[in-house]
Symmetry: C2
Subunit: 290 residues, 2 copies
């Protein structure tokens, strides 16, 4: 790869750039494109990117990969902006947390060039943001999911897979609906549950008193409730159906817990807590790097 | 204080002992009582306690404070065992996570000596267990709630308050029902929600796949689902009514979220996430030691 263009040089885009610069003897020429010129200037000064461009035609000329790492809501506009200048030799990929919506955009906007698009989702870095937090190790041993379709070019998949492997990530391929259903369960649902708990407590008359006695269990449980509200609004709406199905399943689970409690079913409660505790500790043991 | 008797020299009891030994020029003589003789032997060898006793009459003779720091389910048996030998000069306290149930036991079992009993709950140390994990700093800047009743002796309250302050803790007084209602919201509910999420995911046909894509958000959210199942069974049953009321309020909150999602109410979702995110981050900022 000789030229990489990154739209949105924040934590994710910046960390990809830094990882490539560290990994390769011949790192690609990296061009940053974006609306926040101060942030791009910082990226240039930090040596994260080699060039800033505001001219899209020029920026993407001869690019091997265009990586869209902006908030997902900007993806359609970027696809529309690059479409007129997109060469058949350039692969386009993204780093959004939902994939069915992005594939729909790509199909609709890129049209006959959509086989050059590969949806991607690196599972890393939700806690911080901005290029100053970028790290060449952000993706080390982390999962990256790619969601090609039946019409995606094999060489486009290979090129994006190689990009992420160069960053130290483990790459998995699956369909966009599978991706969205899996992440509805293990990421989007927990975020909504944490937002819901904090909102529930914050809206009570004695919220201050309640918060003053909250301790480390509450701290860990609600850490993700400190996440970016706009980002999670977009993710929730983009993955609405899978998320509603998760919320329904979870309400049924809570209903089950309530029944056990109402019936003072000591054995049933213990069995449920044991299953959960065993599964959680087994998972933690096999995922100590996460 | 010249003599402290601890039933259950684990993380909590052991940490109280170590904190007193560090804090006081004239630390009390500390006697450990318990069924697990290996664990008491370890406590003695580590210098956490000064003496092991299996003779309750002898152990509690001339004791200033008896601290019950066993799992809560053992509290009634211990109260029954000490009752026949309990002097009017000895104060009894505990360290259980629920307080109304413990006060009921104390009233019923100690009878006319129940004004010498002060219910207590140190908010610390849920993650580890056992005397080997004990630390003289476990309670430093942590909250300890005491739940005296109208009939509790003032000098008993004072003595237990001093015990915890010597350990570096901040002591609050409130009624047992207030305690149980507050901790139902900020501790017991999050634990049950975390157990429920892991149980929900672990019971699915594709559980392995789901767990393999779970990342740091899931890790933090579910950390408390790795907690001791028996302990949380006991806490749940002991605080059943407050917890059922919390579960109902939470289900209503989830119902509200589902409505916002179904109606694709972008502004409503963002407003909810913003309230939660703001409240969570403000709390974290004011509680960085927790």
């Amino acid at each position: 790869m000789k030229k990489l263009v990154i739209f949105g040089v924040g934590l994710i885009g910046g960390s990809v750039a830094l990882a490539l610069k560290k990994a390769n003897h011949a790192a690609p020429h990296i061009v940053g494109v974006g609306r926040g010129s101060a942030s791009l200037q910082t990226a240039l000064e930090l040596g994260v990117i080699d060039q800033i461009s505001n001219n899209i035609a020029e920026a993407i000329q001869n690019a091997d990969i265009i990586l869209i790492a902006t908030p997902v809501a900007q993806t359609p506009d970027i696809l529309r902006a690059i479409k007129p200048y997109l060469s058949k030799h350039t692969v386009v990929t993204d780093a959004g947390s939902t994939k069915s919506d992005v594939l729909d955009y790509a199909n609709e906007i890129l049209g006959d060039l959509s086989p050059q698009f590969v949806g991607g989702h690196p599972i890393a870095g939700a806690e911080k943001s901005g290029v100053s937090a970028a790290s060449n190790e952000l993706f080390l041993h982390k999962n990256v999911v790619l969601t090609p379709t039946a019409s995606t070019q094999q060489q486009a998949i290979d090129r994006v897979e190689e990009l992420w492997k160069s960053c130290g990530a483990t790459v998995s391929l699956m369909s966009a609906p599978s991706h969205d259903s899996i992440f509805a369960a293990v990421s989007h649902l927990p975020h909504l549950l944490a937002f819901a708990l904090v909102n529930d407590i914050a809206s009570r008359p004695n919220a201050d008193q309640l918060f003053s006695f909250a301790a480390s269990g509450f701290r860990d449980f609600t850490r993700i409730a400190g996440s970016n509200p706009e980002m999670w609004r977009d993710i929730s709406l983009a993955n609405k159906n899978a998320l509603l199905s998760e919320l329904n399943a979870y309400q049924a689970e809570i209903g089950n817990l309530k029944n056990l409690l109402e019936n003072e079913d000591s054995e049933g409660l213990q069995a449920l807590f044991e299953r959960a505790s065993f599964a959680r500790n087994a998972w933690a043991k096999s995922n100590q790097k996460k």
